[in-house]
């Protein structure tokens, strides 16, 4: 493409089309642009347009297109990737780098941001080696005095340098930082000083101040990036300049910079917030050097907190500032800064209490945005909130001053409760704050699962519960003072381990009652609290609260839970669904009378949400509840499985037909569960589905693989004979699935699960013709990419094969692929790697298999394989006695992230659809050590003298000792 007006015109038209809402126009234009991306001059045409186009919209569009083009193409992927050629030719690269900085600086802000992003993408690849001028070019602009230009430079520098905040220390990184420091640190410092001076000369010029403060924010951010990895010599030498100015900026206020906006943080807040971060960085990492400045910052930040208002726009600043104090106050050598009783009282009164108050914004969220409110309040995703920061400060102070702090707050709590008592309907917020204070003060350790696990002994939690929490929950109206109701329910939830059980039992009907509350927060909390209480552990691994204790409430509980799902805003409430699941699990057979109604409601729900699944947790618990219904009912009455199939298959068919991706893995799991419930041969309804399960498209989605493998295993377990007789033509398809899975490093263990089921259950005749091919496939994979996970699965498989078909068959099939192959497998794989096998069942399979090779395989006794006999025995004894070898070669470190899979399909996403561990050698061999001894005894009877002589010649003494132990235990001797 030439740099011609005609081309500029064409490009303009296409860019315009990419903005068209009609996809029929937009898509072809996007396609066209993509097709010319590789042409020379294309990026330069875009740059020309974004600079010179007459239409602003084209300028912006060109800049965005340019940025995305750079993002996609600038990076030259390794030479090895042939299908991703370098789309940007060298001359274009040079031209872009030569022009982009001045262009960015002269562009209006909207375009400047795009170009600045592009520069940082280019910089990430080319800076500093391939773009040596960039720094000087940027630094020179500092002298321009034009703060529009300067801010452009600072913004670009920030996007180039911010990666220093998270990258690992390395020589490369540090030499880049050093280079940047050498060129940048001094000019930045001078700019910092100059900007601050300009701020005072322009103290009355609002628009100038805004620009200058934007610069200061960027400068403070750059300071953070440049100081992150280590304290640079330059900044240590210039700490006085930086810290003195940062300190005075913290205390600065200027009416002109105050904003009317209550939500959005203004420049002043953003700057102070960044300075808090900078001070926190120095306090954490460079304590020794920063010590002289720290007390000043503590005072300044504390004053800042005392004078900052309640508006939302200050939230980030306030929580950053409190977090700074929290991190400093728990360091032993700064203890003295807080020790004084007046200081403590003042922090508690002026910093902590005000920031714990329930604000108008919280009230709004409670009513109108309850989901967000719950998420913040319940799940601890409140990291940046004021309340959370205040709580952290309380905990920090308690490290050294628990007694005094508790004392100060106890007084506060009492006075707030008194205020409330005077006029509840007006002063209910005081009680909210009191409860929050007690909660944060008392909780020393907390978990989602168990609530508070360690409480501050200075607070009497049960007393508070009985006197101040229960009365609220007992009140006649479930809809009065919803915030206090939510507080009360939350109190039960988090202090459930501290409050005595009889109090919890008293609370249960109250909680069930609150499931009817109109407020989403209140009925959600009630459901959640019930769910948590039902999960509590008592003695002997039983639940604390028994089914018998809930018996009187079963009906009302189930009714209210399902009714709560019909309340506005809660139709897919995951907390309620989870409470349903947990109630089923606790109540077990006492729910059976209600199952017909329950399963109808659940299938209706399932049908409704399958139209548009949007709440993953809700859906998950719904399927868990379905599984529980099936299990509980069929345990009492196995024949009921038919009625579940009747109720569910219609919805399942619809889900499968409409390809509801989110639900398909669940459907397979429920089907597995149902199929496994059958005691007899597989029903024909399942067999009709069998061919569909082998469709390649289903196996494309990784989420389907584990449940599908599980389902096929269930088919093989229940219907191997039916498959062999009625669907033998599907066996190649089944093996095709195996072949696909085995080729993938991520899924090979799933392939082995399938293969093992085939070997274990299929009648031998039906798979005879495929056996050799299976082994060849496995060898190919071994040769191409051998991983520890693959080897482990491979070992289990060949030993299972040996158990099923006999050791001789195993030897023969190996040697039929290639002569002496069996010996190689023994020597190179089994003997050296067997120690890596993990899992009880897996180890047992290997032990029995190897025992067979040792004792039931004539070639091991009288061919060249004989020399491997003793090493194999030693390896087996090692498997019995040595710790598992869980080393992983370095290069595999990142492949093997999914841990060692069990012999069973480890995928149990639906906990209540899981099946019992299956031990294919269970009946045959009970104790594999004894089995070895007995088998050796049998072998030695058949050829007297041979075994002892092989043992005495080369078995390691320690191993021999173990072996003698086995023989003794089995009461046999070797002849």
């Amino acid at each position: 493409m030439e740099l011609s007006d005609a081309n500029l015109q064409t490009l303009t038209e296409y860019l315009k089309k990419t903005l068209d809402p009609d996809p029929a126009i937009r898509r072809p234009a996007e396609k066209f642009l993509e097709s010319v991306e590789g042409s020379q001059n294309y990026p330069l045409l875009l740059l020309t347009l974004l600079e010179k186009s007459q239409e602003n919209v084209i300028k912006v569009c060109a800049s965005v297109t340019f940025k995305n083009y750079i993002k996609r193409n600038w990076r030259i992927v390794g030479i090895l990737v042939e299908d991703e050629p370098n789309k940007i030719c060298e001359s274009d690269r040079v031209a872009i780098k030569a022009n982009i900085v001045p262009l960015m600086l002269s562009s209006p802000e909207q375009i400047q941001k795009q170009l600045s992003d592009a520069i940082s993408i280019i910089g990430r690849e080319d800076f500093p080696q391939k773009w040596p001028d960039l720094l000087t070019e940027m630094v020179n602009r500092f002298r321009s005095g034009d703060f529009h230009v300067i801010n452009g430079v600072l913004r670009t520098a920030h996007s180039l340098f911010k990666r220093y905040r998270h990258e690992f220390k390395s020589n490369e990184l540090w030499s880049e930082i050093k280079l940047v420091l050498d060129a940048f640190a001094l000019p930045l410092t001078n700019l910092f000083k100059a900007t601050i001076e300009l701020c005072s000369t322009h103290a009355n010029d609002a628009s100038a101040l805004k620009v200058l403060f934007s610069s200061l924010i960027l400068i403070a951010k750059l300071f953070y990036s440049l100081n992150f990895q280590d304290l640079p010599e330059f900044f240590e030498d210039n700490m006085e300049t930086w810290m003195t100015n940062f300190h005075s900026l913290l205390t600065l206020d200027n009416k002109l910079l105050q904003t009317d906006d209550e939500e959005e943080a203004g420049l002043l807040e953003l700057l102070k917030s960044q300075i808090c971060d900078n001070a926190a960085l120095y306090a954490q990492k460079y304590d020794e050097e920063f010590q002289p400045y720290l007390p000043r910052f503590v005072t300044a930040i504390w004053n800042l907190l005392v004078t900052t208002g309640q508006e939302v726009k200050y939230d980030l600043l306030v929580s950053n500032a409190i977090q700074f104090l929290a991190s400093v106050c728990e360091r032993p050598h700064y203890k003295h800064l807080f020790e004084d009783q007046n200081t403590l009282t003042s922090i508690c009164e002026k910093v902590i209490v005000p920031n714990m108050e329930f604000r108008a914004a919280d009230e709004e969220a409670f009513e109108d945005n309850s989901e967000e409110y719950i998420r913040r309040d319940l799940e601890g995703s409140d990291i940046d909130t004021r309340r959370r920061a205040a709580c952290d400060l309380v905990r920090g102070l308690c490290k050294f001053f628990e007694g005094p702090v508790t004392g100060i707050f106890s007084g506060y709590v009492n006075s707030m409760l008194q205020e409330y008592a005077k006029n509840p309907s007006v002063n209910w917020k005081h009680k909210d704050a009191a409860i929050y204070l007690v909660t944060s003060l008392a909780s020393k350790a907390q978990t989602q699962k168990h609530g508070i696990t360690q409480a501050n002994e200075l607070v009497n939690l049960t007393e508070f519960f009985v006197n101040h929490i229960q009365p609220d929950l007992k009140s006649a109206s479930v809809n009065e003072f919803p915030v206090l109701k939510a507080d009360g329910i939350k109190y039960i939830m988090i202090f459930r381990n501290q409050v005595p059980k009889e109090q919890l039992l008293v609370s249960i009907p109250l909680l069930i009652n609150h499931l009817q509350a109109e407020s989403i927060v209140v009925h959600t909390y009630a459901a959640h609290a019930l769910e948590r209480l039902f999960t509590m552990k008592g003695t002997n691994n039983t639940t604390l609260i028994t089914a018998a204790e809930i018996a009187p409430f079963v009906e009302v509980l189930l009714t209210n839970l399902f009714k709560a799902l019909t309340l506005p805003g809660s139709s897919e409430n995951e907390y309620i669904m989870k409470a349903i699941m947990r109630s089923f699990s606790l109540l077990q057979e006492s729910i059976i009378p209600y199952i017909p109604s329950v399963i109808t409601q659940l299938t209706q729900k399932l049908l409704a949400v399958s139209k548009n699944p949007s709440k993953p947790h809700f859906n998950h618990y719904m399927f868990e509840s379905i599984c529980l219904s099936i299990r509980i009912t069929c345990k009492a009455n196995p024949d009921a499985v038919g009625s579940f199939e009747e109720a569910l298959f219609m919805v399942f068919t619809e889900i499968l037909q409409n390809d509801v991706q989110e639900f398909i893995p669940y459907v397979f799991q429920v089907m597995s569960l149902l199929l496994e419930m059958h005691k007899n041969e597989i029903p024909s309804s399942y067999m009709a589905l069998f061919p569909h399960l082998l469709q390649p498209v289903l196996w494309e989605r990784t989420g389907n693989i584990p449940p599908l493998v599980r389902l096929l295993q269930a088919y093989l377990e229940r219907g191997a004979n039916t498959i062999a007789s009625a669907a033998a033509d599907k066996i190649p398809g089944l093996l095709g699935v195996f072949q696909k899975l085995i080729a993938s490093k991520a899924n090979d263990h799933q392939g082995f699960y399938l293969l093992n089921s085939i070997i274990e259950h299929m009648p031998p005749g039906s798979v005879d013709q495929y056996r050799k091919q299976i082994f060849i496939l496995l060898f190919q994979r071994l040769q191409n990419s051998k991983t520890t996970k693959f080897i482990k699965s491979f070992l289990v498989f060949i030993n299972l094969y040996c158990i099923k078909y006999g050791a001789l068959a195993l030897q023969e099939i190996f040697d039929s692929i290639q002569p002496k192959m069996f010996g190689m497998v023994l020597e190179k794989i089994i003997i050296p790697e067997i120690q890596k096998v993990s899992g009880q069942v897996e180890k047992k399979i290997c032990a029995v298999g190897i025992t067979k090779i040792l004792t039931e395989c004539p070639p091991m006794m009288d061919t060249e394989y004989t020399k491997l006999w003793t090493p194999l025995l030693q390896a087996l004894i090692g498997l019995f006695e040595l710790p598992e070898d869980d080393t992983i070669p370095d290069e595999e470190h990142f492949i093997d992230i999914e841990d060692t899979p069990g012999y069973q399909t480890a995928f149990s996403q639906l906990a209540f659809a899981g099946k019992k561990e299956h031990d294919p050698v269970g009946q045959m061999v009970n104790n594999p050590r004894i089995h070895l001894a007995q088998s050796l005894h049998k072998l030695s009877t058949a050829c007297p003298g041979r075994v002892p002589s092989m043992l005495s010649t080369s078995l390691n003494a320690e191993a021999l000792q173990y072996l003698q132990g086995y023989l003794q235990a089995a009461s046999v001797t070797l002849l």
Binding site: R165, N171, K178, Q284, T447, K449, T887, A911
Partner: protein, 493 residues
């Protein structure tokens, strides 16, 4: 039978050498030994041996100096060189560059050869010493003027003060870096230098040669310092045969009771051990470890610091070398240093401990038995950031190489709380190591069947919420490590 004690990497791979990144952003360390020194005081030597100085000092102008130095009048030469030396001995901002620009250095070097005029020799040596004490450029000016051979000859000067001045000058040259250090060694500096202090010549004999005993100590200090500079620097390390020659003398010097001499000898050992395992072995073979460990307990910072460094370097070596340090009692010396008020010492001690923790489980057991866990936990909880970082390494290594029982003991000693608190640190590498450590802890918990209890503990101590926060960390590897732990142990009850 094969054992699988050291899972994953073996201990050599887990031990961390002193320098991981040769690039430094920080100011040069303040606790390092001085590389070059200038002689600024008018010492006793000067006063007693240059009575002329006591006369009224007539200051020559720079032109006069150049003229005098280049002239042939011995009197004027001496006066000029003295003037230069005085200028260079000024307390602040000695005009080294100006003197170099005068172009008189070759002449000063020439004067070193005037055996017939010890006064001139001495003054020239002193002036050159101070020039060589400056920057690398300054030192180069002296070396390139050919000063090395005459200085080495002067080591054997019959005049003790000239010999001493030469030792000093050579120390400055050696301190410049490996190139000049090896240039000196190649010019055979070692035999005459060591001859000055050979153990067969007891210190007393040396002292007898001089009128003042303080001179003797000062001289020996200078010699020790110069030897230490000859042992210093890497890339390349000093030649092996030179090291072997110096070792016996250093052993001997380490028994001296002057703290400067002990300090500089310790520094020399710290340099020799900051090296490869075979070089560490040479040092260990001398049997010096017990003495070094003893000196780690010295109340003198100047002795304890380099002794700790040397021992710290030794335990970066093989398991056997580390065992030798353990046998010498290093574990008993460390608790005090881990609690030392100086943060740099805490950090160094923790680094040392981390390398012992990288050893096989028997060594880890000794570490536990010697009561190192409580000070470790304290440091992790309350130490300064650099020391905390090292303490994290200790814990990481303990969980990698320790037995399940040892890991249990570690957890019981209260390590979890401070460790999890550190998930807030602003350092990606440390975060990753903590996450690896947590993974190791979970592996051990799995073996004991107490995964649930560990999950609970981690959550109680605020670890879960901190790991959740790491799911938004910008560093992808940190994010993934946190994600794996979350998914594996905290996803579903």
């Amino acid at each position: 039978m094969k054992k699988f004690k050291n899972k994953g990497k073996d201990s050599t791979a887990r031990r961390r050498q002193r320098v991981e990144v040769s690039m430094e952003l920080r100011k040069a360390k303040k606790d390092e030994q001085i590389l070059k020194r200038r002689s600024i005081s008018f010492s006793l030597v000067d006063e007693s041996l240059s009575p002329e100085d006591k006369k009224e000092i007539i200051q020559l102008s720079l032109e006069e100096i150049v003229e005098a130095v280049n002239g042939s009048d011995r009197e004027l030469q001496l006066q000029a060189v003295q003037d230069i030396r005085r200028m260079l001995s000024k307390q602040n901002d000695p005009p080294i560059n100006q003197v170099i620009e005068l172009g008189i250095i070759p002449r000063l070097v020439e004067f070193l050869g005037h055996d017939d005029d010890p006064f001139l020799q001495f003054e020239a040596a002193w002036a050159l010493t101070n020039i060589a004490s400056g920057t690398s450029d300054h030192t180069r000016a002296v070396v390139e003027a050919g000063a090395i051979p005459p200085f080495i000859s002067l080591l054997s000067s019959p005049h003790m003060h000239i010999s001493e001045q030469s030792v000093w000058a050579l120390g400055n040259i050696a301190g410049d870096g490996p190139t000049y250090r090896d240039a000196l060694i190649n010019c055979s500096v070692i035999p005459p230098l060591l001859a000055l202090v050979s153990p067969v010549t007891p210190v007393n004999n040396l002292l007898c040669l001089n009128s003042s005993s303080s001179l003797g100590v000062g001289f020996l200090r200078n010699i020790t310092w110069t030897i230490s500079n000859l042992c210093r620097n890497k890339n390349p390390y000093p030649p092996l045969d030179a090291v072997k020659k110096m070792l016996p003398v250093l052993l001997y010097l380490l028994e001296n009771d002057d703290k400067d001499i002990i300090s500089d000898s310790c520094w020399a050992f710290s340099y020799l051990t900051d090296s490869t395992n075979d070089r560490i072995q040479i040092v260990v073979d001398t049997g010096i470890l017990p003495r070094l460990v003893e000196l780690m307990g010295s109340p003198e910072m100047m002795i304890m610091t380099p002794a700790l460094r040397a021992v710290g370097n030794i335990v970066t070596g093989t398991d056997e070398q580390t065992q030798a340090a353990i046998d010498a009692g290093v574990l008993a010396a460390l608790p005090r240093l881990l609690r030392h008020p100086k943060q740099a010492i805490q950090k160094e001690a923790a680094w040392t401990l981390s390398n012992i923790a990288a050893g096989p489980s028997q060594q880890i057991q000794q570490l536990i038995t010697c009561g190192l866990l409580p000070p470790l936990v304290e440091l992790l909880d309350k130490g300064d950031f650099k020391a905390q970082k090292e303490a994290v390494w200790v814990v990481a290594n303990l969980t990698t190489g320790g037995t399940v029982e040892q890991v249990v003991e570690l957890v019981q000693s209260g390590v979890l709380k401070p460790l999890l608190n550190l998930l807030l640190v602003k350092d990606s590498k440390t975060l990753l190591i903590i996450l690896d450590t947590i993974t190791n802890l979970f592996k051990a918990a799995k073996k004991l069947g107490v995964t649930d209890r560990l999950c609970l503990l981690v959550e109680e101590l605020g670890g879960l919420e901190k790991m959740e926060a790491l799911l938004t960390h910008e560093n992808n590897i940190v994010y993934e490590a946190a994600l794996i732990i979350m998914e594996k142990y905290f996803c579903f009850e």
